[in-house]
Amino acid sequence: MKENIMKTYIIVRTIGLTTRLLTLEDYIALIRRIKSLYELGYREAEGVSIEDYSEIRKVAAKTFISRLRFLASLKSPYTSLIESYLARLEAENIKIRIREIYSQRSFREHYYPYEKSVPLKRIQEARRIEDLTKVLSETTYQKYLRRLFEITEKPSREQLELAVDSAYYYYLKQTAMKCKASKHAITLLDMEGLVRLAYWLITIKEEIAKLKEAEILNGFKPVKTRVVEWLEVECIAETLGVNIHELREFMSRNKITEAILLVEKSFVNKLEKYKKLYKMTDVIIVYYMIRSRIEMENLERISLGEKYKIPFKELINYIIAPTV
């Protein structure tokens, strides 16, 4: 009974929170300097110029974390789901450490101020990949890393990152199922995983067969979404409602960034449709989490675009916001 009340409460609360998400008009106002980030509700961004990328990045990440932490603090049945979604930042931190180890360079400024299963310091202190896997041995990320080391002694950086991503989505969807999240909410998580998978399918297509055989990609496997062939970029695109011709055009010219942007834009539109269809369900929580993450990335894009003086017409195309 109490659980049901809390479910309804968090859903209603999230509906309220979604009204604070930035819209395309807000982004335009931000770029055109009609409104500042502070005026758009980012209280920590007082006096911060949109061109100040390092500050914007910090404020955007902090806001994303605090938004989701607040939602998680409501002690609803979805707390663990929200926390596991936030673990994406930890997965990103692990990937940055992998990149540091492989390149033997320091990317300290690129870590997110977030830790969950392992203290960030322990991740940063791992000197070799073996040390890092030892640090992660008790965590959810170990699942596919172990399998990867079974099939290859020296995995490539991309393979390791993919294993981390896959483990993250496996963990996220498993948590969603444990929380008894609705089919539609899990479908959205499936789709988000598929967007990420699409990137990997384009980037390391030659290694996909080997990784599929070792079941390392299983974390991305859709649980509730029907995809004709989930390891085919075009099938993923079709599921997300992407214009295939446009996607093929980008892929043929190796314009991966624009191809993924196209896929993400379609995904956001799909997200919006789900929100409208299943308004009073847990879909709204997943919607809010994903939109908050996209908002963080949009702000980074706008700030970088302003820093590099990218023309307004082009910059506006970089923003991922629902158009339906």
């Binding site: 990328y53 990149r99 492989y102 390149s103 950086r157 991966i256 960034t257 980074e300 894009r301 970089y318």
Partner: protein, 207 residues
């Protein structure tokens, strides 16, 4: 023997022969230097024609940088920098090469950046493209350095040729002419003295 000391030279046949030989050497030297000057000018013109491509290469680099910035803005600095950071930077060496016998500092690429360390074809592609343009620019820089050094050397040769033409050769010619006149005068005065002596001797015999 400095040029200043020419005026103190004894006006002898020996000196005259020595100076004539010296003038011949100086004239030959001047000719050689003029030939070398022409050769260097020809080389400079060839290099300048290639250096003109700089503008095109710079435009190429700028358009690649713009493309790169767009990718960076879209992917975010975190993703972009950590990915590009995987690429081993190129190794460049500075050495001296001989252009027409003149040592010119040259930038040589010892090792290209290892773009294959990133499997993302867009990132590795754009870095590869940027590096190719940059490599072309390095070649242009090398040519510019060569042109600069060749021009420096050319102005040095010009100074020497001018100094030979306007200073050393006229002075030598002047000195030679002076000594020739002096020797001629001495020969005439000797001839007159001898004539007088023989006249006197003839007169004494008659007495």
């Amino acid at each position: 023997m400095s040029l200043g000391s020419l005026k103190y030279l004894p006006a002898t046949r020996g000196t005259l022969l020595k100076l004539r030989r010296r003038l011949q050497v100086v004239r030959r030297g001047k000719e050689v230097l003029e030939m070398r000057r022409d050769q260097i000018i020809r080389e400079v013109f060839i290099l300048i024609n290639k250096v003109r491509e700089r503008e095109k290469i710079e435009e190429e680099i700028l358009s690649t940088i713009n493309e790169l910035l767009k990718i960076k803005a879209l992917r975010g600095e975190r993703e972009f920098e950590t990915l590009v950071g995987q690429i081993t930077p190129p190794k460049i060496k500075l050495l001296y090469l001989s252009y027409q016998g003149i040592p010119v500092p040259q930038v040589k690429v010892v090792k290209d950046p290892e773009t294959n360390k990133v499997k993302d074809p867009e990132i590795s592609g754009i870095i590869h493209k940027l590096w190719s343009s940059f490599k072309k620019l390095l070649e242009i820089v090398n040519m510019e350095l060569a042109v600069e050094k060749l021009l420096e050397y050319l102005s040095y040769i010009n100074r020497i040729v001018n100094s030979l033409e306007r200073n050393i050769i006229p002075q030598l010619e002047e000195t030679i002419r002076y000594i020739e006149e002096k020797i001629d005068e001495e020969m005439i005065s000797e001839f007159i003295v001898l004539k007088r002596i023989s006249q006197m001797l003839r007169e004494r015999r008659r007495i």
